[in-house]
Symmetry: C2
Subunit: 376 residues, 2 copies
Amino acid sequence: MRTPLSAALGLEFPLFAFSHCRDVVAAVTRAGGLGVLGAVYFTPDELETELRWLDAHTDGKPYGVDVVMPASVSSSVNEVSAKDSARTSMEETLKSYIPDRHRTFVEGILDKYEVPDLPADGDHSHQLLGWTDATARPQVEVALEHPIALLASALGPLPADIVELAHRNNVRTAGLASSAHHARKQVDSGVDIIVAQGTEAGGHTGEISTMVLIPEVVDAVGDTPVLAAGGIGDGRQVAAAMALGAQGAWTGSIWLTVAEADTDPRVVPKLLAASSRDTVRSRALTGKPARQLRTDWTDAWEGTDSPGALPMPLQYMLVSEAHRRIARAGRTELMGMPVGQIVGSMTDVRPVREVIYQLIEEYAAAVERLGAITEA
Amino acid sequence: MRTPLSAALGLEFPLFAFSHCRDVVAAVTRAGGLGVLGAVYFTPDELETELRWLDAHTDGKPYGVDVVMPASVSSSVNEVSAKDSARTSMEETLKSYIPDRHRTFVEGILDKYEVPDLPADGDHSHQLLGWTDATARPQVEVALEHPIALLASALGPLPADIVELAHRNNVRTAGLASSAHHARKQVDSGVDIIVAQGTEAGGHTGEISTMVLIPEVVDAVGDTPVLAAGGIGDGRQVAAAMALGAQGAWTGSIWLTVAEADTDPRVVPKLLAASSRDTVRSRALTGKPARQLRTDWTDAWEGTDSPGALPMPLQYMLVSEAHRRIARAGRTELMGMPVGQIVGSMTDVRPVREVIYQLIEEYAAAVERLGAITEA
């Protein structure tokens, strides 16, 4: 099983796996796919630690890093330097944009579920995380010091200078796109690989389904290889992705419940129990529509007395402390996470290697079945 | 290209085409697929005329009929007989349930766009159409007098007595389902074929994408053949549908812009110009979520001062006269129709036969490409 892209990257099969957990990334890479570490929740120092670990645990096989550099947050945010002093004052300025009505709404939910405050010495930092160019840029600089094979951007095109820097380091760049229009823009900015992501995907998504999106993007970007993302959890879906014209499958959700994953153990049973109808595409998490597990929390934000989500990055600044309070209190009704509709087929906990082998067997069976239909 | 189901139905290839236009249905059937006539907009007498025409224009090849028998409209509606006198009084009763606020909202839109009243002698009938068991049952009776190969139900399972009647007439039954749960219910009620329809489809749809839904339904219904619907417009998508486990592709939207279609010529240019992002899943048309072209009309219903759609069948009763007024006035900003996200790839007007041949060529190319990937 081999496409021009998987051959160029030296993979045994064209399976890409996004995860925030280094153990999952390493296991996928060692099995012959390409693990991609999501960097957004790490400080540059933390990311350095993770990548050093990955270098030691991937047997020299290729892995990647995914950052978030949204082009559409206000330019005043992106212009501020990442120096700590400036960052603090930027956070204060942004915080002043959060309406009282929204703060009251959040407190109302927390009161209703009797979620206590954080202790006075609790962690109140990380409120911006890597949602901006200013915070993502140091992550990229750290990543490019390591022998990564791929630098991916989860929201909007990578800045041209970053693409150039990556290329100088012999690193391929990939950009997520949820429409043919956005895919073309990414290609114009020099990105090497398009990850075309359907609305059924977990996390930030557009509205167009994978089935419709992949051929549109493939036709729009010419020779640029396209990976299919959204709704891929078994080998039949990998085969479908290839039939639609993709050169590989980009997966994410299915790695949340593998044995190696560090997913919150209080959320894992909710993921295993959820059906494909138990997700919602909501702006409640970051301000941009992101598919996630439906919970009492997302229901509150979709409800009639909701003030509506704030734009990125204000929404995450508004809710991040609430999420920490909820997690600390263990109020599982309010605890969810980004996940795609494929969550319905995630019903047991298995090691990465087993998931991959089953996926390849199912893929082969689907292709054989298709051959029989075609020749009949 | 042959599956057990296409062989059993005597088709040259497992392509099913839903259309309200008999010319399209006949052209698909004559080309070797299976055309399915949507009956909902026809009175029993009109349907009789259409089917007699189809019998004369399908060269003895198989075609089908699709009716709408929603199980979830109020039972008082379904219990009323279809006799004209009773029907009139039922309509009056139902009309009394429509709130003034909703009437005022509709008049507000029509006023804003300067849409005149219908002439005093205009057609004020057809306000219930075939949205109920009471109105659909006579359509079924008419259909079963003809040599149809398939009786499909677009909303919810066919009643058990109808399935039995169809089987006595040697007619296979098919039911649309948008979740594995609904598919199992249909199989339990005796339906022979499941049309698993993803959220990207035109008309009444669920929330789960085709990519995720098809394997779920295939796994849920055992030996019952599954057709894939939603997002299928070219041969790559047909191949993907087969890879996902379907025994055929159910198509609808793509037939709205073929040369044979009787689609309103004022709407055809809008369909040809629309991108895959120009649809919306809205309750504005019938009260149940239906994907359709996004227009000023659907935007108004999604807007902040919208009273929200009424339940089926009240919403259609509320808006059907408005739709006739809009069509008569030719206010194209307000004119749309049910269509899926595949509308983005509908960019020219070609005869049915040409569309089918291209689809088969694309299918063959996709399967060959998949074979090359697999053997590499």
